[in-house]
């Protein structure tokens, strides 16, 4: 089992998020995080979903997403050069003694302080999920009052277009070698 990051373009119609959530529940796929937002085209939402799955499971997720009538295209960015970003807000307690230490950490993580009062700071941090996890870890000793993470959004590097066809599933099973995903050719009609 590994984390797979998939992005999906979906028609922005009522109930579409419900369809996707229902699919994951129905097929017993495990959602790690799910974010939805507008994309470059009007009427289209872009979804980033991180699932805990085997290679074979990820192909099934992808094929099942394609089966939804409102899903326009899906891509698995797990094995591609891609940017993963997440935003976190952390409210941490500070005392006159610890304030400078926290501010130093904020600097190190290239985070920003967005709210200050005499007892707490609210810090905004962006980056990979790992970076935000690490940031949380180092702030924990100072006392985290509240914390929220947006879930990851992802985008492939470079200029290759997104695949627009379902992969015709080939996946790794114990003893079988996973074959390269035909997505890389941009055609992806093969398995």
């Amino acid at each position: 089992m590994a984390k797979h990051t998939l992005i999906a373009y979906v028609e922005d119609v009522p109930g579409v998020l419900n369809r996707i959530a229902s699919l994951f529940r129905r097929r017993n796929f495990n959602i790690d995080s799910l974010t939805v937002g507008r994309a470059e085209q009007p009427g289209v939402s872009r979804l980033t979903v991180v699932v805990e799955a085997t290679e074979a499971g990820a192909r099934l997720v992808e094929a099942n997403l394609y089966k939804l009538v409102n899903v326009l295209r899906v891509d698995d960015l797990t094995r591609k050069p891609a940017l993963m970003r997440e935003l976190g807000l952390v409210k941490v307690t500070v005392t006159p003694d610890t304030r400078t230490q926290v501010l130093q950490l904020v600097d190190v993580f290239r985070a920003r302080v967005v709210d200050v009062d005499d007892q707490a700071l609210v810090i905004e941090v962006t980056g990979t999920p790992e970076k935000i996890g690490k940031f949380e870890l180092v702030l924990r000793p100072y006392g985290i009052v509240e914390m929220v993470r947006t879930g990851v959004v992802a985008m492939a590097r470079g200029h290759e277009p997104l695949s627009s066809n379902p992969p015709l599933v080939r996946a790794e099973v114990a003893g079988h070698k996973a074959e390269d995903h035909a997505h890389d050719t941009g055609v992806s009609m093969s398995v």
Partner: protein, 635 residues
């Protein structure tokens, strides 16, 4: 042209070529029913329960290949459809369900008869729509028909609010053409995949073809037979694939899976190549996946990519319409002889035919297998559709009724819906009025939807209902016998006098409890005008053989007993199994142990040890035959 939403619904149905709809009126769908009177070309069948409407639409779709239509009101009307929709979903049957919904302003207020039907049916429809404006009705219905019948077919539900039915708008059929940018029903595999598949087919020594329902849906019988004949490859069919390949074809080995023939399953376990055509490796077909077809490479021809590698890892997947894929494959296929492989299969077949109860002389007892086989023999020359429910009768029908043509068996396979048969048969009769439609149904399943006899009576149509009445929920009882120490919890079942029930509906009722009477009964049924219900009172504790226990390896079947209990003549003594136990009978604990990888596989020679409370029958744990006393008690 300005029309009300309700009129637009009927205009659209007419333009989609619908000639019959199955439905039940109610408050939220009333405007549509009111407009119906203006469209006399579409015949409306009033059902007795909305579940029946969906099963009828399903039966109509499976018999005709066209889209079946069911209509119901909001709330309870729509929720009653759920079972029928789920049945159609599992068996890929194209139906469109139209439901009324409370007015758009009342949505979300828990108004009278309000249910979130699109929410409820979301996981059991291929797609669904909630329409709140008359302007959106035409497009929703056009898309619903297109989605239902294209690609892998399935049910689509269109929920239309009452105000959308009442308000008027401009009706423009052309402008309402489907716009579905994300819907891809026509996928194709790359040429390189065909090359890989051909390589496997041309080098295999022991190949086997699986013919599933996809063969029927794609009308690919001729191509499959050509592939099998050229390469001398035996064909095994799935339950829903029955009829795809003529039963009389020497290439057709018969049904695979849990109650498939033993030689078919043995052939699968020995095969070095499986060519799976339009089937989905259901658990009832594969048995234990860990031991399934261990020597076989697999080619999967399938229209739905999400079925590939779902249960079984395949080596080559050819996505696309089955007939088109086969057309592309056939020129590259090399002729072969494969006589060794056929000899192996013939050896595995061995004495199975002799063990078949059908070959045994009349013992004075009526067995379901006899009834079904006799119906087949007596109706062979006629054009017949058989519709079954789920359970023992379904398996006996699959084993003893030999189907020659596609769409001649309609059965609830995936969902295994009791109560499916009678309404689906009524739907099938509307699709094919020139054919005989037989319902083969258990006494349990029949009682679930027997109210639809009234529909048959009101419509004046003829379906022949053969109730296989063993006064038990037979298949559940069989599992209790094998795996639950014969504790028959809640499986003995009484029913009404079925013949009198038929008469109460102003139909014909017959009863038959002797094998020698079957012929006369069937002949009388065929000669009678209108629907006939036959109560075939059969042996109560009869068993479907062969059987793969759930979770066991496919070739570890419980075979038909060699010393068949049914060969005994009708003396009044208690029937006993021979003292040696049935070969290969598993008990659940042993099956589970072997599945979990600890403990030994079930010991075949020893009878199961009983640790449970001392039930009376436990002393002879594997006795199969009923006692004469008990079986006559209720007659």
């Amino acid at each position: 042209m300005k029309l009300t939403g309700a009129e637009i619904i009927w205009e659209c149905l007419q333009k989609e070529g619908v000639d019959v709809v199955f439905g039940y009126p109610g408050g939220a769908i009333l405007p549509t029913y009111d407009a119906m009177t203006k469209y006399p070309k579409i015949h409306h069948v009033l059902v007795r329960h909305e579940q029946g409407a969906t099963h009828m639409a399903d039966g109509y779709a499976r018999a005709s290949g066209k889209v079946g239509v069911a209509i119901a009101t909001s709330g309870p009307g729509a929720t009653n459809m759920v079972t029928g929709i789920a049945t159609a979903m599992m068996d890929s049957s194209p139906i469109v369900c139209i439901t009324g919904q409370v007015g758009s302003k009342a949505i979300g207020t828990d108004a009278f008869q309000e249910t979130d039907v699109t929410g409820v049916t979301l996981p059991i429809t291929k797609h669904n729509y909630l329409v709140t404006r008359p302007d959106d009705i035409a497009r929703a219905i056009r898309e619903a028909f297109y989605i239902a019948k294209s690609g892998r077919p399935g049910p689509v539900l269109v929920d239309i609010t009452k105000d959308a039915q009442q308000l008027t708008c401009e009706f423009d059929w052309e402008a309402a053409a489907p716009k579905l940018p994300g819907y891809r029903p026509d996928l194709r595999a790359l040429p390189s995949e065909y090359a890989k598949a051909l390589e496997l087919i041309n080098t295999a020594k022991r190949p086997i073809i699986f013919a599933g329902q996809g063969v029927i849906k794609a009308n690919a019988t001729a191509q499959v037979l050509e592939l099998a004949d050229t390469t001398r490859t035996p064909i095994a069919v799935t339950l829903l694939g029955i009829g795809a390949i003529p039963a009389s074809s020497p290439l057709n080995l018969g049904m695979m899976g849990m109650h498939g023939e033993a030689w078919v399953n043995e052939a699968i376990q020995q095969a070095d190549l499986i060519i799976a055509l339009g089937m989905r490796f259901d658990d009832r077909v594969t048995g234990n996946l860990k031991t399934y077809a261990p020597h076989a490479k697999k080619i999967h021809v399938e229209i739905d990519p999400s079925e590939v590698n779902k249960n079984v890892h395949v080596d080559v997947a050819l996505i696309g319409d089955l007939a088109e894929v086969l057309e592309e494959l056939l020129p590259g296929v090399r002729a072969a002889d494969r006589s060794d492989w056929w000899a192996t299969i013939a050896a595995a077949k061995g004495d199975s035919a002799v063990r078949d109860i059908q070959a045994l002389p009349d013992s004075g007892h009526l067995y379901a297998a006899h009834v079904i086989n006799d119906i087949w023999r007596l109706t062979q020359k006629r054009n017949t559709i058989v519709v079954t429910d789920v359970g023992q009768h379904q398996m006996w029908e699959a084993q003893y009724f030999h189907h020659e043509k596609p769409r001649s068996l309609i059965t609830s396979g995936g969902l295994g819906t009791m109560g499916f048969a009678l309404p689906a048969a009524i739907g099938a009769k509307f699709a094919c009025p020139e054919k005989d439609v037989w319902v083969v149904v258990g006494d349990g399943g029949f009682q679930m939807t027997s109210c639809e006899l009234a529909t048959a009576e009101q419509e004046g149509i003829k379906v022949n209902v053969a109730i296989i009445n063993n006064a038990f929920l037979g298949m559940v009882r069989q599992w209790q016998e094998f795996f639950y120490d014969k504790r028959y919890a809640a499986t003995p079942m009484t029913g009404p006098d079925f013949a009198k029930l038929a008469e109460a509906y102003r139909l014909t009722g017959l009863r038959c409890n002797k094998r020698s009477d079957v012929k006369a009964t069937v002949e009388k049924t065929l000669a009678t005008k209108g629907t006939v219900v036959i109560d075939f009172v059969v042996e109560k504790e009869d068993t479907v053989f062969p059987m793969v226990p759930a979770g066991a390896a496919l070739d570890k079947m419980i075979r038909r007993p060699k010393q068949d209990v049914m060969s005994e003549s009708g003396a009044d003594k208690d029937w006993e199994m021979p003292s040696s136990t049935l070969p290969g009978v598993f008990v659940e604990a042993a099956v589970e142990a072997s599945l979990n990888g600890h403990g030994k596989a079930a010991k075949l020679s020893k009878p199961a040890k009983k640790s449970a409370k001392p039930v009376k029958v436990a002393a002879k744990p594997l006795r199969v035959a009923p006692t004469k006393k008990r079986s006559t008690a209720r007659r």
